[in-house]
Symmetry: C4
Subunit: 202 residues, 4 copies
Amino acid sequence: MVHARRTPERLSAFSDGVFAVLITVLVLELRPPEIPTFTALLALWPTWLSYAVSYVFIAIVWANHHHLMRYASEATPRLMWFNFAHLFSVSLLPLSTAWMAVSELAPQPVAFYAAVFFLVNASYVALIWDLVGRAPPSEVSPRDRSIMRIRSVVTLGIFAAAAGVALKFPILGLAMCCGCLIVYLKPEPSGAKDGTPVDGGE
Amino acid sequence: MVHARRTPERLSAFSDGVFAVLITVLVLELRPPEIPTFTALLALWPTWLSYAVSYVFIAIVWANHHHLMRYASEATPRLMWFNFAHLFSVSLLPLSTAWMAVSELAPQPVAFYAAVFFLVNASYVALIWDLVGRAPPSEVSPRDRSIMRIRSVVTLGIFAAAAGVALKFPILGLAMCCGCLIVYLKPEPSGAKDGTPVDGGE
Amino acid sequence: MVHARRTPERLSAFSDGVFAVLITVLVLELRPPEIPTFTALLALWPTWLSYAVSYVFIAIVWANHHHLMRYASEATPRLMWFNFAHLFSVSLLPLSTAWMAVSELAPQPVAFYAAVFFLVNASYVALIWDLVGRAPPSEVSPRDRSIMRIRSVVTLGIFAAAAGVALKFPILGLAMCCGCLIVYLKPEPSGAKDGTPVDGGE
Amino acid sequence: MVHARRTPERLSAFSDGVFAVLITVLVLELRPPEIPTFTALLALWPTWLSYAVSYVFIAIVWANHHHLMRYASEATPRLMWFNFAHLFSVSLLPLSTAWMAVSELAPQPVAFYAAVFFLVNASYVALIWDLVGRAPPSEVSPRDRSIMRIRSVVTLGIFAAAAGVALKFPILGLAMCCGCLIVYLKPEPSGAKDGTPVDGGE
């Protein structure tokens, strides 16, 4: 009975829908300036900057989510709820980016921003643990897996530290967040050749 | 002629699109506070709470919808219209949650909230009846089916009662709603082992 | 070379996304009333009514679109542009419904409403002509085809007439629109048994 | 291991979600006029015009994106990021169209508009280069490829020139943009018969 199996396709499709709405939420905030000059357009820079930054960061999150979901073979209730938690944290990104930009990098909004990324990362770690952590070695090489694990723990620690640091030195806290995101620019563990180790050898 | 069969895939895809928009509608309401302090952020608690609660409840509804749609093998007109009715009721959830939160749990908004859940549940019962109620016993074990039925009737009754009770004791009415939703946290009938009985026997 | 064929799946998926946004656009307008009473909720009746009506009508349009797209076997440029025209007309429905409700059925908004439905129907007729009109008789029985054609021409005429009539008698114009929509409640030509004639014969 | 391959389906689905939101963003701006007359409706012409124009242009972009993605056989990180850059540029279209219309074709908004189209086109050229530029001749005929390349370079040049020209003669700058878009109305290179050369010979 084909339709009784819970394939992860609909989970991915639903997640894509949510990502598509979230990545465009801030574009709804971009209003054409009253005056038809570039100066007026540039005066809106906090909104512009926060749209661009939030777009790039949600794109990074999507790329990693997309990468990880390839390991899913069944939409178990646990996977579903970890995924909902992940999407919920991601949905706070546009707001926190906007708040940070509007406040011109005030300490508490930057700390809140780092905290949201901590949540996004924590729920991503849960997804990794559910999807990759229990996969047989033939699917994920032990080396990849330990790279993924180390990366997760280290970035989680840095985001937590950044939230604390930002309360005193917001610029430094923000720099720490950006540093972590650069690590995630490449979804594959950095040691892995493009797809090769994933196919697992024989 | 392959393309003449009405597969339920597009029905699921459309529903996912609607769910994705609905689950993020309230995030559009979250505005960065004027003042860059946590206090200002916390002052927005009714919006925050209603976003979180409505997110979780729509997630529960999605999980159950996803579970049920696995039994669909054809997009009949009846299934389509039951599904539209279900999505319509779900689309009232963000509004009713926001109203309840803004009014700080006043009697009538809580009663309205319970009524919306009554509608969501009633249209879900119609979907169950259409998809599971007429399936052969090889697909759905009689035990699962009767668990599903009993659960539906009982929760429908409780939501209706909650709407009445809320007019006098809103906190109690809300607690009754939450109790029902916990029952739906697990889409599978509670007696069923993960997927096993669905595969139908031997 | 599998990926060179232009399958209509992505066209359907894109259309579903647009429909999902459009059907929920008006729910964004529903704001929780200031005062926590049912009276305050009912005072918003024009918004409520226009949401419900526009939801049902977009649902009817979706059901017909879904029905028709089953005949598509390739996403030709013509099909793509007819589809864009159809989606554009549908996107005017929420606005025209809202205007009609807000103006409490004033003549010109009702005439505009009928005109939008004329456009929706005209672009649907173009889709029918592209997808069904040139299909071999084995796919669409001649009887079905002539029913579809007659229905199209008649409803087009009635929508056009309704736009004119509404300028004098808005209620009558609106009734004519609703009458046409009832005809479309069942996407299959009314003479056809559920799916049977579509499978073409023996 | 089937799920380890990075199929481009999810990339397309995500892009479709973003396109669906973007193409309907401006419809959210259309508000029913206060007064129930056609005059009041026509007074909103800048919003109407910018919605219609932006709809048509996003439709053209979607049709070309859809055409190009058929050449994708794997969602490589490069393809993903080129695609994100493309979607980001497209997301600026509604805003820039609205600004141009509101300012009644003032020089700087038209120049900004041409600049946005330059970005959309530049990222599209990157997608062409990634997907078609390195495909074997059996998939894309050398003639098609050189038509695609020439078209890209020429339109890029014209959009850049249009941005400069618009600062002095906005109407001329806008006409240049529209001219380029007409070239893209047909996604296939103009020399190619419908699909034939793509199938690559016998």
